[in-house]
């Protein structure tokens, strides 16, 4: 365990050094991330310019969901996406061999290969949105609610990561998978809206197929103090099951890997 923590530290340091080498890019990407945070608020502002509440969600509550979406987007694009896009490349070129040979767990190595530190801007953006939302509501969230939402944030990150592992596992079978990641991001984009706004087929897709509800809506409800304990524990259990499932699929898929020349 300690060894893996040390390894994680090394990988993080390498990514940071790499990012700091390209300082202009670093600043540019940071600014771009900031632009996106602000820009993604536009549809929300338009919707709530016409209505005071949508499906029981007030503007402030929808803002909290947007805050979690921004945070999760930061997690996705800063910690999950960069490494796992590399894996797809490795599988296609057959260079995954070099990783499989290393004396550490392959899933761990490929998942921590690259981070993009400037995505911290997203975290800051998310926090700023929370600040505005709770300032408008004129209260601060209770400590217990913050803790609950942080626990759910953990769940959300694990779920997101497991989903990605499943996508990458697909790369062992269908090689052209970089567009699968595109599909995934496009679906993830819907997470900026409270999942309970949607009805019918979309509701099912967003809670069961791609658990967007778990990633943004539940943490937001927890922070607002509106989530009942049953749902919270179900989310925790579901996440654990899902992560285990992803791990099993990864292990089975890697057995399917045949390197480049065979």
């Amino acid at each position: 365990m300690g060894r893996y923590l040390r390894l994680l530290g090394v990988q993080l340091r390498a990514s940071t050094t790499l990012a700091l080498q390209y300082r202009v890019e670093f600043a540019g990407q940071g600014l771009l991330a900031l632009f996106w945070v602000a820009w993604s608020l536009v549809p929300l502002l338009v919707v709530y310019g016409h209505r005071d509440a949508v499906a029981g969600w007030s503007f402030e509550e929808a803002l909290v969901v947007m805050g979690w979406f921004t945070v999760m987007k930061g997690v996705l694009e800063g910690a999950v996406n960069p490494s796992l896009t590399n894996v797809v490349e490795h599988i296609r070129k057959g260079t995954l061999d070099f990783i499989l040979l290393k004396p550490a767990d392959a899933q761990f190595l490929v998942s921590t290969a690259k981070f993009e530190p400037w995505r911290l801007v997203d975290l800051a953006g998310g926090l700023a949105i929370f600040g505005v939302a709770f300032h408008r509501m004129g209260r601060i969230p209770a400590a217990a609610h913050v803790l609950a939402s942080l626990a759910l944030l953990g769940c959300a990150a694990v779920t997101l990561y497991s989903l990605w592992i499943l996508v990458v596992s697909a790369a062992f079978f269908v090689v052209k998978v970089d567009n699968l990641s595109f599909l995934f991001s496009s679906i993830f984009d819907a997470g900026r809206w409270p999942a309970t706004i949607f009805r019918g087929a979309w509701r099912v897709v967003f809670t069961v197929v791609v658990p967007l509800a778990l990633m943004t809506t539940y943490p937001a409800l927890a922070l607002l103090g509106k989530l009942d304990a049953g749902t919270a524990f179900a989310a925790l259990g579901g996440t654990a099951l899902f992560a285990a499932f992803a791990r099993v699929v990864w292990l089975r898929s890697i057995r399917h890997y045949t390197s480049a020349s065979s």
């Binding site: 890019e25 540019g28 990407q29 771009l32 632009f35 996106w36 820009w39 536009v42 549809p43 338009v46 919707v47 310019g49 016409h50 209505r51 949508v54 499906a55 269908v174 052209k176 567009n179 699968l180 595109f182 599909l183 991001s185 496009s186 679906i187 984009d189 819907a190 809206w193 706004i197 949607f198 009805r199 019918g200 979309w202």
Partner: protein, 265 residues
């Protein structure tokens, strides 16, 4: 001048075969154009207890289904091809051919149209069936203008991508630049929110930017939200943008090419 044009049918055929060969990839690309459906679900929820502006639930359904059709028909991916070929130097092979690379890219992108059409027709019929014929314009002239408007929308998309892609000759992060373009597109093209629902000054600003003519214009045309006179003015503006972008893209390409050194150059 005519020599390269004779190659066009062949290039289209090759492009179509490529699209058919990678059909799984093709379907995934199409599936990732799901934003209009999400926005449709969202706006229907908003309009559940009363129309927003002049948009009721059915109007939103017609608008966003039409947006989906237009978006599917106007897809282009030339920027990624240009970026990658410039970065890897494989553009050199393309330059050896006696056809202008931009024309070749255009053929590759256009060749996927039959497949896209095959996918769009069911959606279009569903649109008619679901929201009732009253939400689609009955004016035969406007219906006839629709393909022209869609072609224009595709040309703007393609030329803008070529223009930004050509910048990859100068700067390395033309991808980020395009990301900003896409961000602006999302808001000013009526992709996420029908332009009418914005405050008037945003809608007015959108009229002066190219994004509206890439999506909202054909959509508003076919859903009968525009009068004939308005449609003709917009069509004129659209093709003015096309002419301007075409000149800019060709100039940027020619200037950029002089800097292109490929590998070992």
């Amino acid at each position: 001048m005519l020599q390269p044009l004779r190659a066009v049918p062949t290039m289209l055929k090759v492009g179509l075969s490529a699209a058919v060969a990678y059909r799984a990839e093709f379907v995934i690309w199409l599936l990732s154009t799901n934003m209009p459906l999400v926005m449709l679900a969202l706006w229907s929820a908003v309009a559940r207890d009363g129309p927003v502006g002049r948009f009721g639930q059915r109007d939103f359904a017609a608008y966003f289904l039409a947006a989906l059709v237009v978006r599917l028909l106007t897809g282009a991916w030339v920027i990624w091809a240009v970026n990658e070929e410039i970065r890897l130097g494989t553009l050199a092979f393309r330059l050896l051919r006696p056809v202008h690379p931009l024309l070749a890219y255009a053929c590759e992108n256009l060749a996927a149209m039959p497949l896209r059409l095959a996918l769009c027709l069911p959606i279009a019929l569903l649109l008619l069936f679901a929201v009732g014929p009253s939400r689609v314009t009955h004016d035969p002239l406007l219906l006839a203008l629709f393909p022209v408007a869609v072609l224009g929308a595709w040309l703007i998309t393609f030329l803008a991508m070529s223009l930004v892609g050509s910048l990859a000759f100068y700067i390395e992060s033309s991808g980020s630049l395009f990301e900003i373009w896409m961000g602006l597109f999302g808001v000013f093209s009526g992709y996420l929110v029908p332009l009418e629902l914005f405050p008037p000054w945003v809608a007015a600003l959108a009229r002066a930017l190219p994004f509206r003519y890439m999506l909202a214009f054909p959509v508003e045309l076919v859903t009968g939200m525009q009068s004939r006179a308005r449609a003709f003015t917009d069509l004129g503006v659209q093709w003015l943008f096309i002419a301007g972008l075409c000149a800019a893209a060709l100039a940027a390409w020619r200037a950029g090419l002089r800097r292109f050194a490929a590998f070992g150059g």
